[in-house]
Symmetry: C2
Subunit: 182 residues, 2 copies
């Protein structure tokens, strides 16, 4: 079937378009190129084993192993259980809403936690300066300014917390409904 080979070639081209775009996007998200490429490839395939991945991407097995682990961490790939084969199989999460939620919630949670903790420590130090009468007026004033700025910034982090909460609970879709699948 010559027509079929032609069609298959054309299909590869079609897939590569999207694979390239997804891969590039993920790159911007701080996912390594090969992990991005792997995910995008899996997006078009069903279950895959590490060897199949290595085969199709022309890369080493440890490379696939580490990429898959990273993709699992951000919940873009799930381990699947296939009876018979003793090789592990994995599958791409195809619901981008899920990926979006998992990725950003994880990221923002970490941001909030880290920064609020740092602010807490910092404010403790600043407070000590502010309430020490032996320190000159101008320095205490500066400390106070920094303190106020930090205190003010907390507003943002708490908002971000709320955002994460509304995404996890899916309340956000009441405000911003998922468009209907035509």
């Amino acid at each position: 079937m010559n027509k079929d080979n032609q069609a298959l070639e054309r299909m590869e081209k079609a897939k590569d378009q999207v694979i390239g775009a997804i891969s590039e996007t993920m790159d911007l998200y701080g996912v390594t190129p090969s992990a991005g490429n792997l995910y995008a490839t899996m997006y078009f395939e069903g279950e895959m084993t590490l060897d199949e991945m290595r085969e199709i991407l022309g890369m080493s097995k440890p490379s696939m192993s580490t990429s898959i682990r990273k993709l699992q961490e951000i919940e873009m790939v799930k381990k699947t259980y296939k009876r018979g084969s003793r090789k592990h199989t994995y599958m791409a999460e195809k619901d981008f809403f899920h990926s979006f939620m998992a990725f950003y919630c994880q990221m923002w949670d970490r941001e909030v936690k880290m920064n609020l903790e740092a602010i807490k420590q910092s404010e403790k130090e600043l407070k000590a300066i502010i309430s020490d009468d032996a320190v000159s007026e101008s320095i205490r004033k500066e400390a106070q300014e920094h303190y106020d700025m930090l205190e003010n910034s907390k507003t943002y982090y708490h908002w971000l917390e709320d955002l994460v909460k509304s995404i996890r609970s899916e309340e956000i879709f009441e405000f911003l409904p998922k468009p209907p699948t035509k």
Copy 2:
């Protein structure tokens, strides 16, 4: 004033806490370490010139120049006009809401545009395969599956577009109000 020096040292420690945290966060966002560090430093300072940055960070001037440019791109730093000095001065955007909006809207816009374009091209190819009667049934079926998957994924991108819109218009704050500044 020995007490003052002590206080200043303590203040540096307080600032460094937060600088470290912000810097690390920005790192996760794909901003280079030195740009992150620069922003976090400027967060505590007023207007700054390139030479002051170089001085305080102990880095080269071209480094500051490129970092500042990147920070301007994502709207985390604004150019300020200071009469008198002919050196350029810059100032950190301290409103994290603004930074959040600028950064993610830019990112998501690019993602939507890139991927929808790729999908469009890809679907064109797939359609050609699907409607070619000379191609075997099984291949046409596979093409149709890919097509449907792509078509379905558009839902997500359109949602992301809506999200960006509601952030830009600040409508999102009606749903998720900024917590009051105590």
